[in-house]
């Protein structure tokens, strides 16, 4: 779980809780009026989420603020890695990257927000876990980021590997899988630690800077973000150890297969584009290609993604307006950004990474 900035306490949480309660108590009136629409919606057919999105003319995307993943720029426009995947869905549906409403959540509010129907999907760094997938009535889309939990420590502490943290005080952000991974790691390695669980990441950062904590533990990408929040980032180092697997994927509600398929294939398109060597700048040239598989992928020949009920050339639009996976990664997280995250596991399978899109055909 990537942990990010938080909005101030209380109000948003209370709002999410109330929204969930109210939605659960009141929602049945709307679902009862359209019996049978939910369970057997077929691809392209009318489904509650898709028809709501079309009627609204915008996708509602739940995000969590954090440098590189979702932050508003000077003009108030949301930018970031997660944000770009939300925009890709908007382009696929409406051919317009601005037809998205971004709803910022804390890690703790997000599931209530999705359950209550406040958003159509979450793209906020949620880790796929079996218990979430099975117990919480969610479906996960394709993995779009591979991460793992690590530690950020002060260089002055002379700690170079995680096993040296015996007896340390470790700050973690609440509402994530972090607490669980950390506890498992400590029990597995027979070390003890003293957790300080903060609701707001900024409180954890100030605790690390003030010396209250010996380390902050979160996902690798989150640590890169957190390090930039410190006043003297160069006095701190991210330890090389990764104590967990954190496959990050978008989340949708269960019972809406057509919507899930749209999320699935739209998120795979940038990966497939990178594999074909297509990017934001050269996409137009590929419109004249004779390669049949690329022609099918770009919708120049019908058939590959007809069942989604989208514009036949949606993949081309997504690549032109948002980009390939490489475009999205380099723009938000890559070495040219303050985060400077290495592609690592997030390289294409052809380059020794884990990114692999099923074929578009």
């Amino acid at each position: 779980m990537r942990a990010r900035f938080r909005s101030p306490l209380g109000i948003r949480r209370a709002a999410a809780a109330l929204a969930l309660g109210a939605a659960i108590s009141l929602a049945a009136c709307t679902t009862e009026s359209a019996p049978g629409a939910t369970p057997n919606g077929t691809a392209g057919g009318a489904t509650p989420t898709l028809s709501a999105v079309r009627a609204r003319g915008a996708v509602k995307c739940g995000i969590t603020e954090g440098a590189g993943f979702a932050t508003p720029d000077d003009a108030g426009r949301w930018r970031g890695f997660d944000v770009d995947f939300c925009r890709a869905i908007a382009v696929a549906l409406f051919n317009d990257p601005d037809k998205v409403q971004f709803i910022p959540y804390t890690q703790e509010q997000r599931f209530s927000g999705l359950q209550s129907g406040e958003v159509d999907l979450l793209a906020n760094g949620t880790t796929i876990t079996s218990s979430r997938a099975l117990r919480q009535s969610f479906h996960f889309g394709p993995i779009y980021f591979y991460d793992g939990q690590g530690f950020l420590v002060a260089k002055s502490s002379k700690v170079t590997k995680a096993s040296q943290l015996d007896g340390a005080t470790i700050c973690v952000q609440q509402g994530t899988t972090t607490e669980l991974n950390l506890t498992d790691f400590a029990r597995r390695n027979n070390i003890t630690f003293h957790p300080v669980v903060m609701e707001d990441l900024r409180a954890a950062v100030s605790a690390l800077a003030g010396g209250r904590c010996d380390a902050i533990s979160q996902d690798g990408a989150g640590l890169a973000t957190t390090r930039t929040m410190l006043q003297h980032p160069n006095d701190y180092v991210v330890l090389p150890d990764r104590i967990s697997k954190e496959p990050i994927a978008p989340v949708v509600r269960t019972g809406d297969d057509a919507w899930l398929e749209i999320v699935n294939w739209v998120l795979r398109a940038p990966v497939q584009a990178e594999e074909y060597g297509i990017d934001q700048h050269n996409a137009a040239q590929f419109a004249k290609t004779t390669d049949p598989s690329i022609r099918r992928f770009l919708g120049l020949e019908p058939g590959a993604t007809d069942g989604l009920g989208l514009d036949p050339e949606w993949t081309l639009h997504v690549i032109e307006k948002v980009g390939s996976y490489k475009d999205i990664f380099d723009r938000n997280l890559g070495p040219a950004t303050p985060l400077g995250i290495d592609r690592g596991l997030n390289k294409l399978w052809t380059d020794g990474g884990l990114l692999y899109s099923p074929p578009f055909r």
């Binding site: 659960i24 703790e108 943290l165 609701e199």
Partner: protein, 367 residues
């Protein structure tokens, strides 16, 4: 025989009851239908599952990650209860002193207390809390801890004190001695025999099983052994006490001022000192006006203690949030949260309500 007005009232009340019941039935039916449609099932079985997370501060009840979620919630509840109980007592004490000082004839003292009360009362509690927590982070690291007395260490890891473990029987007999000393139990001329016997037994128990004092030592990152008062607990307690005592001081000042001036004049005409007037004449009357408002302030202190999660103190809200997030039972944990705060608040209100009834019956002076 019923008048027309009575019959109308019955019909109207019946109608009101019917509408409320129908609304409740409709909400309940919709809720269960929506829960079923979303594939959510309610149940409290998850409370028996292992927690798999660690808790930083534990008082009275030991906790390890292998313990159940239910036990984790109880640990959080004890933390909330500790903060609430200490907070209420301290806030009332500080609030009383501040309220009385605001009525002092010395203008400098009065002004100083007034300025402090106004600043604290008119700024958000969360701000005060974050400020205090950040201030405590400015303390030196454990390697350079301040140690005013041997065995006592003050660092950014908190206040570490030597742990004293006293034998069980010593505690039992000492408590019995205190109880036996109560005025109501002083029966007969030789009443002192019972408490004296208990005290002697406690002494014997202490000799047989002497108290063990463990002094903390610095080991690697932190202190080992001893008792630690964490900076989070200290900051939370200080913020709650400061905030609520500012409110209580206003209650005290208002209640004292509400006592008619003539009573004070009469007391001083009888030659009573200022302190005697306050204690014997003003307070017994003022207390009756004050107690319901003190109860309200205690209840709001309990509810405000849920801000603990902002600075990382594991109170019951913090632990319920973690449990809800890791098991997906957020509705159940929310219900538990409601039940916990409702019962804590009603408990405090009932206790102070009884005290108030006692005051109204007897009207005794505070002694």
């Amino acid at each position: 025989m019923q008048s027309a007005a009575d019959r109308r009232a019955v019909v109207l009340q019946g109608l009101g009851l019917g509408i409320t019941a129908a609304a409740a039935w409709w909400l309940a039916r919709n809720t269960s239908a929506s829960l079923a449609q979303r594939g959510l099932t309610l149940g409290f079985g998850f409370l028996r599952h292992p927690a798999n997370f660690e808790i930083g501060d534990t008082w009275w009840l030991a906790f390890s990650p292998a313990d159940s979620i239910g036990r984790a919630i109880v640990v959080g509840l004890l933390n909330t209860a500790l903060v609430s109980a200490l907070g209420c007592v301290l806030a009332i004490a500080v609030g009383f002193v501040a309220g009385i000082l605001r009525l002092s004839p010395n203008p400098a003292l009065r002004g100083l207390v007034r300025a402090a009360v106004e600043i604290v009362r008119n700024t958000p509690l969360l701000l005060l809390l974050l400020f205090l927590a950040a201030s405590l982070h400015a303390l030196p690291p454990p390697q350079q801890a301040l140690s005013p007395v041997r065995g006592v260490f003050l660092s950014d890891r908190g206040l570490v004190l030597p742990a004293v473990s006293i034998g069980r029987w010593t505690i039992v007999f000492a408590l019995a001695a205190v109880v036996a000393f109560a005025p109501r139990l002083r029966l007969g001329r030789r009443w002192w025999m019972a408490p004296a016997a208990c005290a002697a037994a406690a002494l014997v128990a202490a000799v047989i099983q002497p108290p063990v004092i463990t002094v903390a030592r610095l080991e690697g990152f932190n202190f080992a052994g001893g008792v630690t008062l964490s900076p989070e607990l200290a900051a939370l307690l200080a913020a709650l006490v400061l905030h609520q005592s500012a409110h209580i001081s206003e209650v005290v000042r208002g209640a004292v001022l509400a006592v008619p001036r003539g009573q004070r004049d009469a007391a001083s005409a009888l030659g009573m000192s200022r302190w005697q007037t306050l204690r014997l004449v003003v307070m017994p009357v003022a207390l009756r006006a004050m107690v319901p408002l003190l109860a309200t302030n205690c209840v709001s202190l309990i509810k405000n203690s849920s801000l603990a999660v902002a600075i990382g103190f594991p109170d019951v809200v913090s632990i319920l949030n973690t449990a809800g997030n890791q098991t997906g039972h957020s509705i159940e944990t929310m219900l538990i949260m409601i039940a916990v705060y409702l019962s804590l608040s009603l408990l405090v209100a009932a206790a102070l309500g009884r005290y108030n009834a006692h005051l109204l019956r007897t009207g005794t002076a505070i002694s």
